[in-house]
Symmetry: C2
Subunit: 181 residues, 2 copies
DNA sequence: GGTTGCATGTAAATGGTTACATGATTGT
DNA sequence: ACAATCATGTAACCATTTACATGCAACC
């Protein structure tokens, strides 16, 4: 999933500027399962334009730079639909938190608790953010399915962290105790 | 979390070769939440050696290339412990499957089912793999916590997919129906 | 007066994947 | 015969992040 494909995907839902595409990954429908930065989006959009996948409409603005509204061409739409034929790679998860907790024995108990509590709060916030998106009503079955999936997984993650944090700390403390003897 | 840090982390659990480090990400304790390829591991190990973070013991073998057993130095151990002070970045998730299902309306119902069923099977396999690892007994609290976390999350993911797959297909079919009218 | 949001873009640096190269042994 | 496991390594290529550059308006 490169940024070019991701841009096509966002544009398949309607015209957008580079700025708006970024937002789709941050707050919008694509948030939580894909990302892209400006430094990747703008060049991607330029290449897509050169390749005839999208068209640009420049809209002058005062103060701000011209707004460039991108829109899929027929060719772009086909290219996008073609990407839907890929075999999906297994989910890629990179978790710094899990990395740290894997080495919990080297962490002070207070830090363990702080780390876990912060993450639980983050999950909770993301869940309510998703609920807000859901309430704003987008009945697209795909969107709902994906959001529901995210919700379930986040909920499970938060629950696990909340219910096992004390056990972890207790075990780590105990181990330190043993080591001290 | 760059590969150099990841190598230090694996070596903190004991000496290992580049090949074994790779395995730690594939089947071993680090599987599922971090990855690294040979093309990244070997150069990383070379740099770590040059920096005095690790020492190498070459062990001749017949037929195969010499085995290079790496081991942390005191400096390497300190460097590793220092990395445990980072603020963990939020989990990064990149899901091709979710990307595809987001656009379920453009997918034939049979493909949706195949995709979902394959993923459910993959989750199930990973869960039993984790259970095997757990049965092999590593009582390290950090390891157990991380594995338990993974298990819960995978289980939730599999459950969600299994219980919502038919609804998704039904909604997509219905939509196609409406569109045809 | 500082931060956030809007809005685009470039360039250097980073970091990693993929493919290649080598080669014995063991299992199917 | 063919694939997989063991075992290391290089190099070309790819993509992306980060930092920089610019600048107005609105809000606190």
């Amino acid at each position: 999933m490169d940024v070019k494909t991701l841009c096509l995907a966002v544009l398949s839902k309607g015209q957008a500027t580079g700025y708006e595409i970024k937002k789709a990954f941050e707050e919008g429908p694509f948030s939580h399962f894909q990302t892209a930065s400006f430094g990747a989006i703008y060049p991607a959009l330029a290449r897509l334009t050169a390749e005839g996948m999208v068209t640009v409409t420049v809209q002058a603005q005062d103060g701000k730079p011209d707004k460039k509204i991108y829109e899929l061409t027929a060719q772009g739409r086909n290219a996008f639909l073609a990407t839907l034929d890929i075999q999906p790679a297994p989910n890629q998860i990179r978790s710094d938190l899990l990395f740290l907790l894997f080495f919990a024995e080297h962490l002070p108990p207070t830090r363990i608790l702080t780390l876990i509590d912060a993450r639980v709060a983050a999950y909770t916030a993301m869940i309510s953010q998703m609920d807000d998106l859901n309430a704003q009503g987008n009945c697209d079955p795909g969107h709902q399915f994906v959001r529901g999936f995210g919700r379930s997984v986040y909920q499970a993650a938060a629950d696990y962290l909340a219910t096992h944090r004390d056990t972890l700390v207790a075990q780590v403390s105990e181990q330190h105790h043993e080591a001290a003897e």
